[in-house]
Amino acid sequence: MNTLPLVTAIELYLTLGIAVFLLSLHGLMTLHDPIRRLIAVNLMGAGTFLVMVSLARRSEVPDPVLHALVVTGLVVAISATAFALRLIIAATKADRRGGKPEP
């Protein structure tokens, strides 16, 4: 089986994680639709978690502390996303009732 050496693979994933973070940050700053902005924030989270998971893989036995941090971070991200979606939906409904144009 032809695989990348471990060190190169980790560097690749670290770079990818940072790239995802920066691209979605760009998205967050340029987009206006709240749902798209929320997706951008979620992608920033994905980039961060990718960095954390690849940092954990540097030793032969993966670092359990970083895995625990990622799991905790995922729980926070999921709950916050659900809350944000509910708020955005409620805000859009309220705008429609008020007869205001949608942003």
Binding site: F21, L25, L28, P34, R37, L38, V41, M44, G45, G47, T48, V51, M52, L55, R58, V65, L66, L69, T72, G73, V76, A77, S79, A80, F83, A84, L87, I88, A90, A91, A94, D95, R97, G98
Partner: protein, 478 residues
């Protein structure tokens, strides 16, 4: 240490109780439970402060009895005990207002305010970078839910606030991940002696600082604050402006004064201090031009945080312990004064039936007590003696004035004072315009007005306990 944990646990459990009890409890009972638990937490915080003063040192606790390095550590210093006390006092004052004033509040406020209290207490006690991230998220989520309490008009600002707050937390989290990847530690005290001024550390600190400055609405990342704070219900605005923005500021202080290597801290110090100086003037000018009362008060938060940021920046640049005292005196004096300012602004809005600053014409006659609260609290923001704001500014200015090469900073502080005076006096001058009075729509709510005055009187009372506060902050160090 147990007392400090009690001060954290009481609001947390009463919040859970109120959430589970839900509609089964009567609104009055809900408010009563929340205020009683805040009072209990206040007493516990006071006893914890005595305990740490008697011990004369910082107390540490490894959660769950795990060995150091594996455990999440909590730390009780005299500063964190003081902040616990301050948080409980602010919740008590604002809770009394929310419960007793005629304006009333949505019943969900009580559970959320308990959670807010709990997450702030956890933040002051944490000595672990990841645990600080968790408390930061708890704080952000609770604050957003509280903004949304004021109904459908606030949903849009609340959603924007949440998205920004999440993005800021992720900046912080990425920084934490990089620091852990570099040093393999998350505990502040274990990390502190090991950090070096290399590229990874710089990048991590930069990311964390950006996130925290966004969360604390420090210039130039403050633009989200005025709409979010101005659209919340009055009691919530007071909590958000007085307390919530101080949480990220505390983490910023821990990060730079403890975790960062001193060489890097000395490099960032002047940058932070200049940002603080610009915040003072820019925030003040926006407050001066603002047509709405609550937006004026919200912009004044941006300006006043400039003082704290400046004290932090100069603390890092010169490593002067006096700046540490000034920073925390500012935080406490601003919290009390801002609570009074927001409560008074909310009461005047309700009584006079207007959200505009112009509508305050003749307020000294129509709503005298609320206007008095506004002016007295404003006096502390300007720094008139003998208020708490004066005390903080005096401690900040003393080392600046004694050395001629520091005078440019002193000029920045004085310019900020001038602008603060301008936006406070703009309101006060209008309120004395008795020729064209804006008549009140309803009879003013006397209880509400007096409760709005209470925090303002306390900030003036701070001067009486000034020496005690200064000694406490000077003795505690970290």
């Amino acid at each position: 240490m147990n007392l400090a944990l009690l001060s954290l646990a009481i609001p947390l459990f009463s919040g859970l109780l109120l959430l589970l009890g839900g509609r089964a409890l009567r609104t009055r009972t809900t408010g009563f439970i929340a205020i009683a638990s805040t009072l209990a937490s206040l007493i516990a915080a006071w006893l914890a402060l005595q305990e740490v003063a008697a011990a004369g040192t910082t107390l540490l606790l490894n959660l769950g009895g795990w060995e150091t390095g594996l455990a999440i550590r909590l730390r009780l210093s005299s500063l964190s005990a003081l902040l616990l006390l301050f948080t409980a006092l602010m919740h008590l004052l604002i809770g009394l207002y929310a419960g007793l004033s005629r304006a009333g509040i949505n019943r969900d406020f009580w559970a959320l305010s308990c959670f807010l209290h709990g997450s702030l207490a956890a933040l002051w006690l944490s000595a672990d970078l990841f645990n600080l991230y968790i408390t930061l998220e708890l704080l952000g989520l609770t604050a957003v839910a509280m903004v949304a309490l004021s109904g459908s008009k606030a949903y849009r600002p609340a959603a924007n606030y949440l998205i920004l707050s999440l993005a800021a937390s992720l900046f912080y989290l990425l920084g934490v991940a990089l620091l852990y990847g570099r040093y393999g530690e998350l505990d502040v005290l274990l990390l502190a002696p090991r950090t070096e001024a290399d590229v990874i550390t710089r990048l991590a600190l930069l990311l964390m600082t950006t996130g925290l400055m966004l969360k604390a609405a420090l210039w130039p990342l403050h633009l989200w604050l005025p709409p979010a704070h101005a659209s919340a219900p009055t009691a919530v605005s007071a909590l958000l402006s007085g307390l919530v923005v101080k949480g990220p500021l505390f983490i910023l202080w821990v990060l730079w004064s403890e975790v960062a290597p001193p060489t890097l801290a000395q490099q960032i110090g002047p940058v932070l201090a200049i940002a603080g100086m610009i915040a003072l003037t820019a925030g003040g000018l926006s407050a001066m031009r603002s047509p709405h009362i609550k937006t004026l008060v919200a912009y004044s938060t941006v300006a006043q945080l400039g003082y704290a940021l400046m004290a932090l920046g100069l603390l890092l640049t010169w490593q002067l312990p006096q700046m540490h005292i000034a920073l925390w005196l500012f935080v406490i004096a601003h919290g009390l004064a801002k609570a009074s300012l927001f409560l008074a602004a909310g009461e005047m809005q309700a009584s006079l039936g207007t959200r505009r600053v112009d509508g305050l014409r003749g307020a000294t006659q129509t709503v005298p007590v609320a206007m008095f609260a506004f002016a007295v609290a404003g006096g502390s923001l300007i720094g008139l003696p003998p208020s708490g704001g004066f005390l903080a500014k005096w401690v900040l200015l003393e080392p600046l004035l004694s050395q001629p090469q520091n005078w440019p900073w002193a000029i920045g502080v004085l310019l900020g004072t001038l602008v603060s005076a301008a936006y406070i006096f703009r309101v006060v001058a209008l309120s004395f315009d008795r020729a064209r009075i804006n008549p009140p729509d309803i009879n003013p709510d006397r209880v509400g007005h007096w409760l709005a005055l209470l925090p303002a009187l306390m900030v003036w009372g701070m001067a009486l306990s000034g020496e005690w506060l200064i000694q406490l902050l000077a003795g505690g160090g970290v």
